[in-house]
Structures are given as structure tokens and as C-alpha cells.
């Protein structure tokens, strides 16, 4: 997956929002065929989203499918597996088998439609108790899984599934996010992301929520409104201080190597090669996001 800080949702049945979403400043657009589309309008939405994928080919375009394992997923994939689609978000996934099935479905369409093999990515939306428990198996079920999204939104499916409370900085979600992040990285998922922040009128809350996600190791976040994008993009970008630190680490490492010293010391902190890797990652990201 490319470096994507923000995915902006656009309801698949709303032509005007579909047209506006790509210009809102998000790194990617997430066309929604699921909950934001009334059942009666699913077919309309599939057609509109398919047209948008073709028209906007070359941008970072993703589609949120209907619930994992449902018949609708098959129809969704049939409509959107085409040039322009970068990946799909699979909600309410709880068993590795449904991930494998989606992988196979995508492969079939890639073959019959002359699309590059294995290129369409899968993002897993983990929003059930079972998904948290089986996060590693789910993430490891297909090589297409480029991201997992920890869906801990207030009032969302996961919170209901657990029957737990929700607070911004409280303990309710600490275990969930820590486990999902660890499992995702254990399965070598390159780009774990955080779910939506539901309160549109609370920029401060969004800031706190996003900062915490970033500290835990999530690389990006879903946005439900254009006004959330700036905060998300800013927080998931390397800071000036981090860029400066990265340059100093790489310089200090060079010096240490010349002295035969395996420890690199910057600001009194002793580091090994891992720090150089982190520094390199940060500089690469900074380069991506400054474009």
C-alpha cells in the first residue's frame, strides 16, 4: 500500500459527494457501498462508484464493501473490480475463511478482466470481538491484506459487540488497539490504520484520538468528513523535529561505523541499527508527503 494518511468516506449513492471527495485533500477516497447506502440504492451506488473508479483512475481509490461473507460482497466486487480500484475495505470480518474467499473472488475478476494479478488490496475492518481475538489469523489469511483498520468508533459495531463503554483517553480501547497493532505487524501488514472518529463537532477530540493512534503505531485514519482531513494528515506526517532527528541519527551512525562502534548515540540515547531503519522510514515518508 502507498503511504496514505487519510481515507475520506464518500457514500456510493451520492453523486455530488463522489465528485467532490477526491478534491477534499485526503490521500485516498473510500467509496462506501455499505452502511451509508440504503438497501434500495445498492445497485445505483455500485454503478456510480464503478464509473467514478474509471473516471478517476490513477488516484488512490478504495471501496468499502458490504459485510464480510454476505451475498452483497459478491455483487459489490463484481461491480468494482476494475481498473482504477486500489483496494477494498471488508467490514465485519470475523473468520479467515471469508478473507480467503474475497481473495479468490478478486483473483477471478483480475484474471477474466485482464487486471494485474494480486494487485487489488484488502483492508480488514476489525469491529467484532472475534476479529480482535483472531486479528493475526485474519491479517495472515491473504497476501492482499495491506492494512487492518481498528474500528473503535464511539457507538460503533465493536463497542456494541463488546458491550463496553467508550471514552477518549480511557482504558476501554487500550487492549483492543494494542492487540490489533501488534497482530497486524506480526503478520507483516505494512500499513495498519485507525477507524473513524464519530464526533464531527469535536476537533480537539479528533486531535487527541489521532495522536494516540499515531503513537501506538497506526499509520493513517478513516475520515468521515472533509474537515477531519487536515488534522489527520498533519498528525500522520513526520514532524520537522523527527526529520532533523532522522538526519542526525544517520550521520551519527556513519561516524559510529567508522569508529567500529555498534551503538549510535544521539542526545544521550544509545541506539542500534533499528534507529537507522526508523530514521530512513521517516525521511522516506516525509518525502512522500511533501509532494
Amino acid at each position: 500500500m502507498k503511504a496514505i494518511r487519510s481515507f475520506l468516506y464518500a457514500p456510493g449513492n451520492r453523486e455530488r459527494l463522489i465528485a467532490k471527495a477526491p478534491e477534499a485533500g485526503a490521500d485516498a477516497v473510500m467509496f462506501d457501498l455499505a452502511d451509508s447506502v440504503p438497501i434500495a440504492e445498492k445497485d445505483t451506488a455500485r454503478r456510480l462508484v464503478a464509473d467514478a473508479l474509471t473516471a478517476l483512475h490513477g488516484r488512490n481509490l478504495y471501496v468499502k464493501l458490504n459485510d464480510a461473507g454476505s451475498e452483497r460482497v459478491v455483487e459489490d466486487v463484481d461491480a468494482v473490480a476494475r481498473l482504477g480500484l486500489c483496494g477494498v475495505l471488508l467490514p465485519n470480518v470475523s473468520t479467515p475463511q471469508t478473507v480467503v474467499e474475497l481473495d479468490q473472488l478478486l483473483s477471478q475478476h483480475e484474471q477474466t478482466r485482464g487486471l494485474p494479478d494480486g494487485r487489488i488490496e484488502i483492508i480488514l475492518l476489525l469491529e467484532t470481538a472475534a476479529a480482535i481475538l483472531r486479528a493475526y489469523e485474519l491479517a495472515a489469511a491473504s497476501t492482499r491484506v495491506a492494512s487492518v483498520c481498528c474500528g473503535t468508533a464511539e457507538g460503533g459495531d465493536l463497542i456494541r459487540s463488546l458491550g463496553c463503554g467508550w471514552s477518549l483517553s480511557g482504558p476501554e480501547r487500550t487492549y483492543l488497539r494494542g492487540r490489533v497493532l501488534l497482530a497486524a505487524r506480526a503478520a507483516q501488514v505494512p500499513w495498519p490504520i485507525d477507524g473513524v472518529y464519530a464526533n464531527l463537532e469535536d476537533p480537539q477530540g479528533l486531535e487527541i484520538e489521532t495522536r494516540l493512534a499515531q503513537r501506538l503505531g497506526f499509520r493513517g485514519k478513516l475520515a468521515i468528513h472533509p474537515k477531519q482531513i487536515d488534522v489527520i494528515n498533519r498528525i500522520f506526517s513526520p514532524t520537522i523535529a523527527e526529520i532533523d532527528w532522522s538526519r542526525r541519527v544517520l550521520a551519527a551512525r556513519q561516524g559510529a561505523l567508522e569508529r567500529g562502534d555498534g551503538f549510535v548515540s544521539v542526545d544521550g540515547i544509545k541506539m542500534t541499527d533499528a534507529a537507522a531503519e526508523r530514521a530512513q522510514n521517516l525521511l522516506t515518508l516525509a518525502g512522500e508527503f511533501s509532494r
Binding site: 488497539r177 567500529g260 551503538f263 544521550g268 533499528a274 526508523r278
Partner: protein, 294 residues
């Protein structure tokens, strides 16, 4: 594993750290052939390990070997196994139980060839990547040689880099991983779960706070990388005299209660029963082992 509060990690190519006076108070020494020794120095460093360890018997010695490349691992194990007075080997950069089994096979072969008792080389497995932590319970069970797991969550270290996470002393970034590693260690009956080093050697206040968190989470010792870190680390991982005195009161109070026909009683406002007595005996035994009480 015998209790070890502080394990001084010393790059094998820079052993002058061991000449520091404070270095002698470390509970154990770990000579490192792995990530603190640059590639270009590994060949030169390897043969110095045996002489250093064999020449300093009254100390507890471990060697951390390279496990990322099979030829480096083999060369390091060849040098290390059979050194008189070696307590064991630290395996870093492990991702699966299979990797441990491969290392174990190699160790067994070398033990047999050297005439060292089969199975006598003990291991500590370092948890320094997401997969190792997530599967810590499986790694712990991979071999009876494994005496402890060492959770490596140092700032800017391998695990934090692998997670892409930030780092803070008592923040949420590594809390799940650090607790999970502890639970996995204890579930495998390991008596001395180990924590990794604190990277900022100039920040002794930070070291103290971080080690207090570590001890509260259940860790019994940690790696240190600077002689100045040893004293505070040894102190924090030892039960205090006040704790020992309290737990002695727990035992006395419960004994009296049991004699009177009750196994549940309050001490200083808190309910205690047999579970608390078991905890008390464990703390007192630990204090005795560490020389806090005689």
C-alpha cells in the same frame, strides 16, 4: 533462571566497559556479538569472548549471539558453547518457534561434538519484533533450554521500529506488548522475566521511573548498557525492607488466625487469606535470594 536484576550488555569488541568499577555490581554480564558489534568487527570480537569468560570465574556470564544469518549464528555458537562458566546464550531477532528449533539442533550438535552435556546450554529468547511478542507463548514453549524471555521495548529499538510506534516511559505505546510478554513468560513458569535496556544513559531519573513501571508490571530484571544504570536497577527490582516486614506480618497474622480456626482475616484494613500468605512467602524468598535479608 537464577534471579538476575541487572544484566550488563557489553559489546564484545568494546569490553573496556567491564573495567568500570560499577560494572562489578551487575548480577550478570552479557557479552554481545550481535547488533552492538558492527559487521566489520564481528570476526575480531568472536575469539575474545572465551578468554574473557573463562578468565573471570566468580561472575555470571551470558553471550548474545547473532541469529539473523545462519553462518553468523553457527560461528558464534561454535565459539561460545562449552566455555567454562558460561551460564547461557541470548538469542535475539527470533520470529518463530521454528527458528529456535533450528538453533537448538545446532547447539545440540556442537554440545555432542565438544563433549558438553547434552541440553546443558541454556537460552534466553529476546522479544524484539511484533511477531515474537505476539507468539511469545509459543516461543517460550519451544525448548526446555529457555529459562527466560527478554522483552525488548527500548526507545528507537527493534520492536518500536517494527511497530512504527512512539515511545514513552509510562505511556500506552507498548503497554499491551509489555504485559503480554510478561504473561507469556509466567504462563511458561519462568521465574525471572526480563525487560530490555533503557536507552538514554544520561537520564537516570527516566531509568528509575521506567524500571519502577517494569517492576510493577512483574519483571524481575533488565538489561543495562551503562554501569551507572546498575545500582538503581538492582535496588528497584529488590523487595524493600518495608515490603519484607509487611509480608512477615501477613504470615504472622494469618498463622494466628488459622490457629484460631479462621483462614481469612484483616491486616491493616485489608483482607488476607492463604493466597496472600503464598505471595508473602514468595516475596520473602526473593528477598533472601537477593540478600535483602539473611
Amino acid at each position: 533462571m537464577r534471579p538476575a536484576r541487572s544484566l550488563l550488555l557489553v559489546p564484545a569488541n568494546r569490553q573496556e566497559l567491564l573495567d568500570h568499577e560499577a560494572a562489578h555490581s551487575a548480577d550478570a554480564m552479557v557479552l554481545d556479538l550481535a547488533s552492538t558489534v558492527p559487521e566489520s568487527e564481528k570476526e575480531r570480537a568472536r575469539p575474545t569472548v572465551g578468554a574473557r569468560i573463562a578468565g573471570n570465574p566468580g561472575k555470571r556470564w551470558w553471550v548474545r549471539v547473532n541469529s539473523t544469518a545462519p553462518d553468523l549464528l553457527a560461528a558464534d555458537l561454535e565459539t561460545t558453547i562449552g566455555i567454562a562458566n558460561l551460564e547461557g546464550i541470548v538469542l535475539p531477532h527470533i520470529h518463530s518457534a521454528d527458528e529456535i528449533l533450528r538453533a537448538e539442533e545446532l547447539i545440540g550438535t556442537i554440545e555432542a561434538r565438544r563433549g558438553v552435556a547434552l541440553g546443558s546450554t541454556d537460552l534466553v529468547v529476546q522479544l524484539d519484533n511484533a511477531k515474537a511478542v505476539f507468539f511469545a507463548h509459543e516461543l517460550a514453549a519451544a525448548s526446555p533450554r529457555i529459562l527466560s524471555l527478554c522483552f525488548n521495548g527500548s526507545q528507537y529499538g527493534d520492536l518500536v521500529t517494527d511497530l512504527g510506534a512512539g515511545w514513552s516511559i509510562d505511556g500506552p505505546e507498548l503497554m499491551y506488548a509489555r504485559q503480554y510478554a510478561l504473561v507469556a513468560s509466567r504462563a511458561a513458569d519462568m521465574s525471572c522475566p526480563l525487560d530490555g535496556f533503557f536507552a538514554n544513559v544520561d537520564d537516570l531519573d527516566g531509568l528509575i521511573r521506567d524500571t519502577e513501571v517494569s517492576r510493577r508490571l512483574g519483571y524481575r530484571g533488565r538489561m543495562v548498557i551503562d554501569p551507572r544504570q546498575i545500582e538503581p536497577v538492582n535496588r528497584i527490582y529488590s523487595p524493600t525492607r518495608e515490603e519484607v516486614a509487611y509480608h512477615q506480618r501477613v504470615l504472622d497474622t494469618l498463622e494466628t488466625a488459622v490457629a484460631g480456626g479462621r483462614a481469612s482475616v484483616t491486616l491493616e484494613g485489608k483482607m488476607i487469606d492463604y493466597a496472600h500468605a503464598a505471595t508473602a512467602r514468595s516475596v520473602i524468598a526473593q528477598a533472601r535470594e537477593l540478600g535483602v535479608i539473611s
